[in-house]
């Protein structure tokens, strides 16, 4: 059986839980399923989470990942939490714009601004 490669890294700060995707390309269903399981475990553990998804390493993704983000967003909100995305490469941001998911997700320049947004006025 193939070794399970790390798909995310998790960092806990005072303001937020930062989950960074570690893969440059996120393509196949198995990748997406593995990501979903990993991130859902973080959400379950945290409860009402202030979650930041960091895309700094990601240079390519398919629409399956957009679906994953929708599912994560629903899960976070169900638990009374909030979700931010950040460090999205311009090529990937174009995909968000085309699909109009820029209207669905709160997208920030970097981790700091995303994390600080949780403590600001809502």
């Amino acid at each position: 059986m193939a070794a399970i490669q790390p798909r995310i890294s998790v960092e806990y700060t005072d303001d937020a839980t930062i989950v960074a995707f570690t893969d440059e390309k996120i393509l196949e269903d198995v990748d997406v399923r593995a990501l979903q399981e990993s991130i859902e475990a973080v959400i379950e553990q945290a409860g009402k989470v202030h979650l930041v998804l960091d895309f700094r390493h990601v240079r390519f993704l398919s629409s399956a990942v957009l679906g994953l983000l929708i599912r994560i967003s629903k899960r976070v909100h169900e638990q009374g939490g909030q979700l931010r995305l950040c460090n999205i490469h311009p090529g990937i941001y174009e995909v968000f714009k085309i699909t109009r998911l820029t209207n669905v997700f709160d997208i920030y320049e970097d981790v700091d601004s995303a994390a600080q947004s949780f403590s600001g006025p809502s």
Partner: protein
């Protein structure tokens, strides 16, 4: 100096998402050889992934007995790809626009939109089981999501 001759090939692969890896690498390598820029490579890669996944999942319905044919021709002006599955086909116009209303919050249904947004020509056969994609080198697209489709 890159060769003037077009690079072309036709490959028959299994109905599973990972089967695209080999033809995809061939196509992206050929694009690099023909001098396409990173934006073109990104666009073709994305459209190819989305189209192949549709062929495998919605066309062949993951049937291991069925195959997908990936045929491509790449020259100094364009990338021309034809994907044919063994499914019953579909009507592209029947797919809801994922940018509006409740569809915006659905996890699926964005593949066709992205294919149309990143390719200059998106054309189905009458049955709807064969897709013809073309992207021209260094050529701006029209309004995103409104590239030529037929």
């Amino acid at each position: 100096m890159a060769s003037e001759a077009p690079i072309e090939c036709s490959i028959v692969v299994e109905s599973k998402p990972s089967a695209l890896t080999e033809p995809c690498q061939q196509i992206l390598s050929a694009m690099a050889e023909k001098g396409f820029n990173q934006d073109d490579v990104f666009a073709v890669h994305l459209a190819l992934e989305e189209a192949f996944l549709n062929a495998v999942k919605h066309g062949n319905k993951m049937d291991p007995e069925k195959t997908v044919t990936v045929a491509y021709l790449i020259d100094h002006e364009k990338v021309d790809i034809r994907l044919t599955d063994e499914g019953e086909g579909f009507t592209p116009g029947s797919v809801p626009d994922p940018r509006f209303g409740e569809n915006l919050y659905r996890p699926e249904g964005r593949g066709l939109l992205l294919i149309n947004a990143y390719m200059h020509l998106v054309e189905y056969n009458k049955q709807g089981n064969a897709l013809h994609l073309v992207r021209f080198k260094d050529t701006p697209l029209t309004e995103q999501g409104e590239a030529a489709s037929a």
